[in-house]
């Protein structure tokens, strides 16, 4: 039996300094809407690599009864502005705008779904909210500072692949500290973006926040990484409800054409409290 398809709308949302490209997935018209999900994409090339998986998950969530919004943040994808004009604060404002827009239309159960650095942005929006949020975090970046450093290392990795002598990251860090932009792997990163990211973490979420994390691994033999395990403990101590699962799959946010990771789709649907259709399970 074929499942009724979710509806897709493509549009631009007015925002500060231009418009944001949006994909809105809604449940089939004969289905009750259970709530909404706002997807927060990862940083730089990871956003493009993960696009297919994110689309699959968004469609699956919509078929399961959620309205799902995928917004390209300022300067990313098909949104207006250049990447180098983007700042961390502008991205936080974009996520907050997306959440507000969805809350007005589907005020029920409200999820923020982040991937990698998108989890840091989701957490920041969650901190600003008056009532506790629900967070679905895919392979969350726990430290913005570490993530920035790893991104800057891409330049070095490019040097290695080309067989050139590697330039190191200290020069880039120095330039950013001077307020200059740096170019890495085709992305021009402003100091305002780098500084905001370097300060971002997942701490200090409001008590009562519900958190589900998915981490890549061999579900039969591996446990959650020590770093995420410590983070879970800190969330629980501060009154949040936090769970994490090890889910098999590929590093789909780093590979342009990696194999599918169906277990991520089904685990995420279960986290949202949805029944998992047979075609996915």
């Amino acid at each position: 039996m074929t499942q009724p398809a979710a509806t897709l709308q493509v549009f631009f949302m007015d925002a500060a300094h231009g418009q944001r490209f949006c994909l809105l997935h809604t449940p089939p018209s004969d289905q009750a809407v259970l709530g909404h999900v706002v997807y927060v994409h990862p940083f730089a090339e990871e956003m493009n690599a993960a696009r297919r998986m994110a689309g699959k998950q968004a469609r699956a969530m919509a078929r399961a009864g959620f309205a799902v919004l995928q917004m390209d943040l300022m300067g990313c994808g098909d949104s207006s502005g250049h990447f180098e004009e983007a700042s961390w604060d502008a991205w936080v404002a974009d996520v907050a705008l997306a959440r507000h827009w969805m809350l007005e239309r589907w005020p029920g159960v409200a999820w923020l779904w982040g991937l990698r650095a998108g989890c840091l942005l989701a957490a920041q929006v969650c901190r600003q909210d008056t009532h506790p949020a629900k967070l679905l975090l895919w392979q969350p970046v726990l430290s913005g500072k570490q993530h920035l450093h790893q991104f800057l290392r891409l330049q070095m990795a490019g040097d290695i692949v080309r067989g050139e002598s590697s330039r190191g990251t200290s020069r880039l860090i120095h330039l950013l500290e001077q307020g200059e932009s740096v170019e890495v792997a085709g992305y021009s990163v402003s100091a305002a973006l780098a500084q905001g990211m370097a300060r971002a973490d997942l701490e200090a979420l409001p008590a009562g926040t519900q958190i589900f994390c998915l981490e890549l691994g061999d579900a039969d033999s591996e446990t959650v990484s020590p770093a995420l395990s410590a983070q879970l403990q800190r969330w629980q101590t501060s009154g949040c409800s936090a769970q994490a699962g090890v889910v098999p799959g590929s590093v789909f946010w780093q590979m342009q054409e990696g194999p599918d990771s169906p277990a991520w789709l089904t685990t995420s649907l279960r986290s949202l409290g949805c029944a998992v259709p047979e075609v996915l399970a």
Binding site: I160, G163, S250
Partner: protein
Amino acid sequence: MAVETDVKKILDSVLSLQGRSAAWQRHTPLLGAVPELDSMAVLGIITALEDRFGFVIHDDDLDSAIFATLGSLSDFVATKLTK
């Protein structure tokens, strides 16, 4: 050699080789021979090695020669582990 097995496992997972690395030997070439090995993948391997073995790889540690063969990468890891 235990380190080599771990390195193969990391390569298999980061590059999504689906078991292809199982047959690799010390002299199996990596850079220039494995099409999946682009800059994102090199970074992924560096990060995965740090996570798996719990050491820090400094910028100065890195050059192309390390990624020449499975043997050179395993030797690099073995040296890091003795420091």
